[in-house]
């Protein structure tokens, strides 16, 4: 080991021009690296177009929806079950919160049952029983004016109340905006 006190004394050397410039350069290179990292991230993140899974999807007008209390409507291409419940319309993600299977609607029993491990959920997406850790995930749902695009209600993950909405209002589901279901109690 070399002489420590001498080294400590050397550390007190004031910063010279070269050192200052080098450190400033390193700082600016750090800034550039962050800049480029940001560019790389934005480049690599996919942008979804309207209608694609991952983007905003139109599922029809308020009048196209199944009446409240009837079996939910299935939108396989965008992996959505659209349930029209007493509190309003809710867009449920078709993927079971257990291990990823697509669950089905059982009309006789009036609930969702997953064929893989038997998890069960209500029409609103609430957990009933089974190995799933939480209730079903929901997508943000909103109603827009079909001509102007103005948002009339929502976006909200919770049930979207349909009273008061014009019958030609367009229902939109944002499949990029997912809210996890409440953990089972």
């Amino acid at each position: 080991m070399t002489d420590k006190p001498d080294q400590l004394a050397e550390k007190r050397l004031p910063i010279n021009r070269r050192e200052f410039l080098n450190l400033a350069w390193l700082a600016s290179l750090g800034f550039l690296t962050l800049d480029i990292a940001g560019v790389g991230y934005l480049f690599a993140m996919p942008i979804f177009k309207e209608g694609e899974f991952g983007g905003v999807v139109n599922v029809g007008t308020v009048s196209d929806l199944p009446p409240a209390g009837s079996p939910p409507a299935n939108y396989p291409k965008v992996k959505v079950w659209l349930s029209n419940t007493d509190q309003g319309a809710v867009a449920l993600y078709k993927v079971c919160t257990h291990l990823g299977c697509l669950y089905n609607w059982n009309n006789q029993e009036g609930k969702f049952i997953c064929p893989c491990h038997g998890s069960q959920f209500t029409a609103e997406g609430e957990y009933i029983q089974g190995p799933a850790p939480r209730s079903l995930d929901k997508f943000a749902i909103s109603a827009v004016n079909p001509q102007t695009g103005e948002v009339l209600a929502g976006p909200t993950p919770g049930p979207l109340p349909l009273d008061g909405l014009p019958s030609d209002a367009l229902i939109q589901i944002d499949t990029g905006d997912k809210t996890q279901g409440a953990p089972k109690s």
């Binding site: 070269r18 410039l21 400033a24 600016s28 290179l29 800034f31 550039l32 934005l42």
Partner: protein, 280 residues
Amino acid sequence: MSRINVEIFLGIIIVLLTGGMILAYGINEQARMEEYKVAQAASAIENGAAIFDNNCKGCHGVQGEGVAGLCPPLNDRFFFTERMKEVGWTGTLEDYIISTVAGGRLVSTRPEQYPGGGKPAMPSWSEQFGGPLRNDQIRDLAAFIMNWESTAPDRETEPSLAGPPVGTDITQELPPGDAANGEALATSKGCAGCHVTTNNGPAWAASAGQPGIGDRAATRIEQDDYNGAATSAEQYLLESIVSTNAYVVPGFAIQMPANFGQSLTAQETADLIAYMLTIK
């Protein structure tokens, strides 16, 4: 300052400039991408226009007005508002166009009105089915046709005539014509799509080497190859409108609708002829 220090100092400036430029470019990215999409949509319409011109106008008309007794109009309000319901199509109109163009039509959906080309009523155009067009070309064509949506007139619903049709007798006496009204009719009846300055039907306007239709009508009947029955400029013009098969100007194929005799009144025809005679 020593050379190396100068270099490091310049290096700092360079790095900050580079980072700054990338940042400035990045802030503008969203706007640039939107502008690019708009320009792309415009290019698609341009390409579609050229494809339509090269492939479709013979049956569907230069301006998509259709040919009576042959193929339906596309540049028509009915097409954009009612057609999908008529055939029970559940997708978008654009998909309907792409599907019809790509796959063709074995049998016409309205055989009495628009029998089309026989068997098949409409050929399939996609490369996948033996046609000449790529998928991107069919999409561009659809974009062109969709661009008629905002201005498509009412064609399919025949407007009721204001009087008896003029018929095909070219020797009949026509009432005095109003050239100003004739000019308006030339647009509303669809003549402008082929004739006024366009050279699909012979152009009415004066152009390289020849005078306007007003002067040409008289000299045309003197030509050796003229085989129609007109004996005056007015008769020649009347014949051209209602009796299209009597004489075809050399270099032009018959594409003109043959039923103007039924869809124009005598007064309207007289107005049109008066207008044409003013184009010298």
